[in-house]
């Protein structure tokens, strides 16, 4: 998203936040339009990818909602509004193909049978009293399979070429692969509802509430990843907006814009990339370029989060915080509790905790080994979420090992050096040293994160030490 898009969304949020009657429906309609608008404009993906996002969301709702809530009449109205929005988008593309901001023209001959098939499936899932038990794991597997395809460039290219040939009228023009805007975050939200439904922990919500949760436009493209029960509570009783709140919202939005478009963009100029490795830079410059990359990542992403939270607040919804001054934390564990908080909480809830619990329950492995497996597996998965490459896997191993070693050290230090014996100055010194060490450790991991191959990353490590 660029500055212009953000300003337009701010104006929309400011107006929409004042709507009192029919609020969830209005919000859902606008979010649906925004996801088409923001998807990069290349046919046929600019229509099909947002439409698939909506289909997956509707399936998620039908599968996770108990029958008595599914049958509420208001859900039929919400579905009609959503289909009407889709119809309006299609009409705008047919009659104003040059002017419409939503999508390129779509072949109705291909879309209408798919839409009809989908609606039959949706109604088939929604009507019966008892849903098959295989549905939640089925959708979980489908979401994970899409993840796998999207995160591996060669699989994305091959599958998009295949699907593109089926969807477009012109078999010669295979469209280029495109990013599926917001899919990762949508999938995290849907997976959370599916797993919680399996555990019997998910509160029943209406179709409009679920769709709003899944595609809420301020957080659609890059989070934060809220939890359904928290989001819906705020949607049902939005925070009142006082005249004074304008100041705090404007502050949050301008801070976000400044972090993202000024600080992060400036840091990008000196942040490490493949070319830096080939240029014979002095070790000092390489250290600086790694630190710049770490800082740029923070300012870019936390700036984006500020904007999302500011927009959410205009709409009466307090989105969860994603960052809590991570670079001021004195150790890696606290760093990871303060960096991309909603993502790490998601992985803790759905990967680390269940894995640790099942390993503990078997009582076959020593505690330290269970901790090591849990930390490394979780961090490698977080790494691979960025892309299925060796570099991201190594980045995950780096952080998993770092967390393990830091945990063991803390445990040792807690038993052997209890804090009352240590002079406050020494404690302060240790804290500052820990903060610096954590920042350096994270910055070094940027060699895996920013460069394209492990060889380049290891070359950088040697150069940093003046060895290559």
């Amino acid at each position: 998203m660029g500055v212009v898009e953000i300003l337009i969304l701010t104006a929309i949020a400011a107006v929409l936040g004042r709507v009192r009657r029919g609020r969830p429906l209005a919000l859902m309609l606008v979010s649906a339009l925004v996801i088409y608008w923001l998807q990069p404009k290349t046919a046929p993906w600019d229509f099909w990818l947002p439409t698939l996002s909506l289909f997956l969301t509707l399936l998620g709702w039908a599968i996770t909602t108990p029958p008595e809530t599914r049958r509420l009449p208001e859900n039929a109205l919400s579905l009609a509004v959503l289909l009407g929005t889709l119809g309006a988008i299609l009409l705008s593309a047919r009659f104003f193909p040059e002017e419409t901001p939503f999508t390129s023209p779509v072949s109705l001959r291909r879309f209408l049978p798919i839409l009809s098939g989908f609606l039959v499936l949706l109604i088939g899932i929604s009507l019966p009293n008892r849903s098959p038990r295989l549905l939640p794991p089925g959708l979980i597997l489908l979401l994970l399979a899409i993840f796998l395809v999207l995160k591996s460039p060669s699989l994305t290219e091959r599958s998009m070429a295949l699907i593109g040939a089926l969807l477009t009228s012109n078999p010669d023009g295979t469209p280029a692969p495109l990013p599926w805007l917001g899919f990762s975050y949508l999938a995290f939200r849907l997976l959370h509802t599916l797993r919680d439904r399996q555990a019997g922990l998910l509160p029943p919500v209406t179709l409009a509430e679920y769709v709003n949760y899944a595609i809420f436009f301020p957080s659609f493209t890059a989070g934060p990843i809220d939890r359904l029960e928290r989001f819906v509570k705020e949607l049902r009783s939005p925070l009142p907006f006082q005249p004074d709140d304008w100041l705090s919202v404007l502050q949050r939005l301008t801070t976000g814009l400044f972090k993202k478009f000024v600080i992060a963009d400036l840091l990008a100029l000196i942040s490490i990339n493949d070319r830096f490795v080939f240029q014979a830079l002095a070790p000092g410059w390489l250290w600086l370029s790694l630190a710049s990359y770490a800082l740029r990542l923070y300012f870019d992403f936390s700036g984006y989060t500020d904007i999302a939270i500011g927009l959410g607040r205009l709409l009466g919804i307090r989105l969860p915080e994603n960052f809590n001054a991570p670079f001021l934390k004195p150790n890696l564990t606290q760093f990871w509790n303060a960096w991309h908080i909603t993502l790490t909480q998601w992985f803790r809830a759905y990967v680390f905790n269940p894995l640790t619990r099942s390993l503990r329950a078997q009582r076959a492995l020593p505690d330290a080994l269970i901790l090591l497996i849990g930390q490394v597996a979780t961090m490698v998965l977080i790494g691979l979420w960025h892309g299925l490459t060796w570099n991201f896997a190594l980045w995950g191993v780096w952080h998993g090992l770092g967390l393990f070693v830091q945990n063991r050290w803390s445990e040792f230090a807690r038993v052997h050096f209890s804090s009352p014996d240590i002079h406050p100055w020494v404690q302060q010194g240790l804290r500052i040293g820990g903060t610096l060490l954590t920042f350096i450790y994270f910055s070094l991991s940027m060699a895996f994160f920013a460069l394209s191959t492990p060889e380049l990353a290891f070359t950088v490590f040697l150069r940093l030490l003046g060895l290559a």
Binding site: A199, L201, N353, R414
Partner: protein, 84 residues
Amino acid sequence: MMHDSIQQTLSSFIAERILKQPKRTIRPDEPLISSGLIDSFSLVDLALFVEDTFGVHIADTELNASTFDNLEQLSQLILSRKAA
């Protein structure tokens, strides 16, 4: 089991087994998770201990500061689930 004795049992478990500081006492309102006193690994330990000792299940998704962050909140959670 009464509220105070639940707190006492939890306090001794956390001090001895998690913090490895048997002499330490934990105040009922002392933040456990948000302060970093109990890390994510030990949190799973605590959940297993609660399950074994009080017969109350705390789900993986509930192991965070918004479900409970001190002994008072945790013992209330245990009592409310035992009553349910």
